[in-house]
């Protein structure tokens, strides 16, 4: 009864909101000399810590290309959107970028959840997404270019290295989400297949900070090495509590799949010293092109390290620009066709290319963390590895059909 009089007022309000929505949104101006691209990463929320750095690398690449005259004679205008660490926001913003801003392509996404949420949007509108982060595979879409590693390019090389070093008993520890569970599923098959043993498998809720029980279980299982797929802040808790429990990396080696230079800086190199990581790029790669990239990035963001997803985010822009140039068009369909027929050497990843399944061909590296926060490269795979989205041992009979 209370709201009778204001009902009509409020009604006007609803209509006003709906109308304001159209007015407030500046629709993108497709000026003649520019081309809009979307950059969609989490600028807020739990994932911002990682995704902001990729956004920076992406923007750096755009600046550099613009400085050289842009692409097809047009300056690239990035439209940066915030995914807010929320997959539904990624879907919403992806839709905005494609439908409202009419961008030529989108660079972005970090978590599998955000990629999975954006996928239907890109398929619906036939857009093109450049995804820069290593992931669990089991997906290939014509509307996504996967420059991050497939499991066979990061996890399996690490296992190969561990086996060569004589580590037989492996403890699998991860955050409770898709990448660790799938990675460990693949790892278990391969460990058993290769004659090793899985000493244990534990998952901690995302953001979990209590590792007392896990460390206790590790002590009882007595593995030779831990394969760690923990995400984000949980790593800080894990390494602090391992050190407190008298198990620093020097005593019980840890191979991490989600700790790159950025995370190492956040966790504190002193805690991580001597632990291992497997990536397809390290800042310390001696390639001269890489040195230039690192120098350019640090000129813009002093003191900030460069890592694997950033390198891929940077590469994605160059790959897109090259493909556009080759195709002579911004049409996603033509661009993705062109992208798989080119080779790139613009980043320190060496000479790379996109395979027919739209994933990147790349080399696997194992590094050991130094007190400086940099990784010393211990090992590298024999040449670039072809991407395999579906691990044949774990998912027999599944192949990528575009």
């Amino acid at each position: 009864m209370a709201s009778r009089r204001s009902v009509r007022r409020a009604i006007v309000g609803i209509v006003a909101v709906a109308l304001c929505a159209t007015v407030l949104y500046p629709s993108s101006s497709m000026a003649a000399g520019t081309v809009d691209v979307g950059v969609l990463q989490s600028l807020t929320g739990t994932m911002a810590i990682s995704e902001v750095t990729v956004k920076n690398a992406t923007l750096l690449a755009i600046d550099q290309i613009n400085a050289k005259g842009g692409v097809l004679g047009k300056q690239i205008v990035p439209i940066v959107e915030d995914g807010a660490s929320d997959p539904s926001m990624f879907a919403q913003k992806a839709q905005k970028l494609i439908e409202q801003d009419k961008v030529a392509t989108v660079f972005g996404g970090w978590t599998s959840a955000s990629r999975k949420a954006m996928l239907p949007v890109f398929e619906r509108f036939h857009g093109l997404l450049w995804y820069p982060v290593q992931f669990e595979g089991n997906e290939c879409s014509p509307d996504i270019m996967y420059s991050g590693a497939q499991p066979n390019q990061q996890i399996l090389p690490a296992l190969q290295w561990a086996e060569q070093k004589g580590y037989k008993s492996i403890f699998l520890l991860g955050s409770d989400y898709v990448f660790p569970r799938t990675a460990n599923l693949i790892l278990k098959k391969h460990i058993v297949h290769d004659g090793g043993t899985v000493a244990g498998e534990e998952y901690v809720p995302l953001g979990g900070s209590d590792f007392s029980a896990v460390i206790n279980k590790i002590k009882v299982a007595k593995p030779q090495i831990i394969f760690n797929t923990l995400n984000g802040d949980s790593n800080v808790s894990f390494f602090k509590q391992m050190a407190a429990a008298g198990l620093p990396s020097a005593k019980l080696p840890v191979m991490s799949f989600s700790i790159a230079e950025q995370e190492a800086k956040a966790i504190g190199p002193s805690l991580l010293e001597g632990s291992y990581a497997a990536w397809n790029y390290f800042q310390s790669l001696p390639d001269p092109v890489n040195k230039k990239f690192v120098a350019a990035y640090q000129a813009k963001y002093p003191g900030s390290p460069v890592d694997d997803p950033m390198a891929h985010g940077y590469l994605d822009v160059y790959a897109w620009a090259a493909a556009v140039t080759k195709a002579g068009s911004f049409d996603p369909e033509k661009v993705r066709k062109a992208a798989t027929s080119l080779a790139y050497s613009d980043v320190g990843l060496g000479e790379t290319k996109f395979a027919g399944n739209q994933s990147l061909v790349q080399t696997g590296y194992v590094g050991e963390l130094q007190p400086s926060g940099q990784f010393k490269i211990l090992w590298q795979s024999k040449g670039p590895i072809l991407p395999v989205p579906y691990d044949p041992l774990s998912f027999p009979g599944k192949t990528c059909v575009l």
Partner: protein
């Protein structure tokens, strides 16, 4: 009376014609936020009328969303194959409790019944022992945390952190098709209208009056011969159903449901929609939902760093300066000249 109903009909017509004058992206946002408004009306019912603050409405939203998503997932899978995430989680046969969701009618019914039943069960167990509102708020927040943790940990059955996505068609309609989008929008507008009328009727009934009285003093109602328990349980179940419906609609619209959409933080954001609009007003719930969500979409695009500051400030300001929200502010502007109202509405005394 007639003028008021006329106003409502006008808004309804304006909303129904939105596809004619709104650009596609704004239209899809409006549809999504209107679906969320269904959930917000449920919060208005339990919080504004019933005095029950739930920080776990997201859970019921999620249950509704998952019920529909499970059907979409089965409908999108190759015949005879299990959904993709089960394959890469090492599961090769469909769990028995997934099977009935292959039936669209079952899935739609489940999207309503499961959240309603879960809400009723929770409310019964907690309110049975006359636990106070603060306890209930905290328990529902713990529920939101536990539910998301649980769903994430059961990846082989639920899709884990990624949730369920990758649907191609919904109930025989192609999801990417613009006509499907329009149809879904109109269904949403229809559900909002029906919900609004139904909840308003409920608030006007003796049930609503007793519920309002329960909010201000549970014991007083008890000593008038009413058992507050069924009133609170039924109201909470209705809010649960509305949250489930909203979850189903948003899942259809967005093509994804995942734990990140209904955990602790989204659940408390749902409360702020209603607080901004005006917790005691059903229209306030709708207005607040639209304003906060459009605001979020806009501010987080233009000033991403500012968004949390704005939300935080809105929380503080709404509670301290405008506890009856936007609608309350407009009301007091209109009624101040007519008669003096008590400064602190009784609703604020828990």
């Amino acid at each position: 009376m007639i003028r008021r109903e006329l106003g409502l009909v006008l808004v309804l017509v304006a909303a129904a014609c939105a596809p004619l004058y709104l650009p596609a992206y704004e239209l899809s946002l409006l549809g999504r936020f209107l679906a969320l408004a269904v959930l917000a009306m449920g919060i208005s019912l339990i919080w504004g009328t019933g005095g029950i603050l739930s920080l776990g409405q997201g859970v019921f939203f999620g249950l509704g969303g998952y019920a529909v998503a499970m059907h979409l997932k089965l409908a999108s899978a190759d015949p005879g194959a299990v959904p993709d995430f089960m394959q890469w989680s090492g599961l090769n046969t469909l769990p028995w409790w997934w099977t009935p969701f292959g039936n669209p009618a079952f899935a739609i019914a489940a999207a309503v019944i499961i959240p309603g039943t879960a809400a009723a069960a929770l409310a019964y167990l907690v309110f049975r022992r006359r636990v106070t509102g603060s306890y209930f708020a905290i328990i529902t927040q713990a529920l939101a945390l536990a539910a998301t943790t649980f769903i994430i940990s059961q990846q082989q059955y639920t899709g884990g952190f990624n949730g369920l996505t990758g649907f191609t068609s919904a109930f025989g309609f192609a999801l990417g098709d613009q006509r499907t989008q329009f149809g879904l929008y109109w269904v949403t507008v229809g559900i909002v209208a029906v919900t609004f009328v139904a909840v308003r009727a409920l608030q006007g009934s003796l049930f609503g009056k007793v519920l309002l009285a329960v909010r201000d003093g549970e014991n007083r109602v008890r000593f008038l011969g009413y058992d507050p328990l069924p009133f609170k349980v039924i109201a909470f179940a209705i809010a649960g159903v509305l949250a489930g419906v909203a979850g189903a609609l948003v899942t259809l619209d967005l093509g994804v449901i995942s734990p990140a959409m209904f955990g602790v933080v989204p659940s408390i954001e749902m409360v702020i929609w209603v607080a901004v609009g005006g917790r005691n007003s059903l229209l306030g719930a709708i207005v607040g939902t639209l304003i906060v969500n459009f605001g979020k979409d806009w501010i987080s695009s233009v000033f991403p760093d500012l968004w949390l500051h704005v939300v935080g400030a809105v929380f503080v300001l709404v509670v301290t300066v405008a506890p009856r929200g936007i609608v309350g502010l407009m009301q007091s502007v209109r009624t101040r000249s007519l008669r003096l109202r008590p400064v602190t509405p009784p609703a604020l005394v828990e």
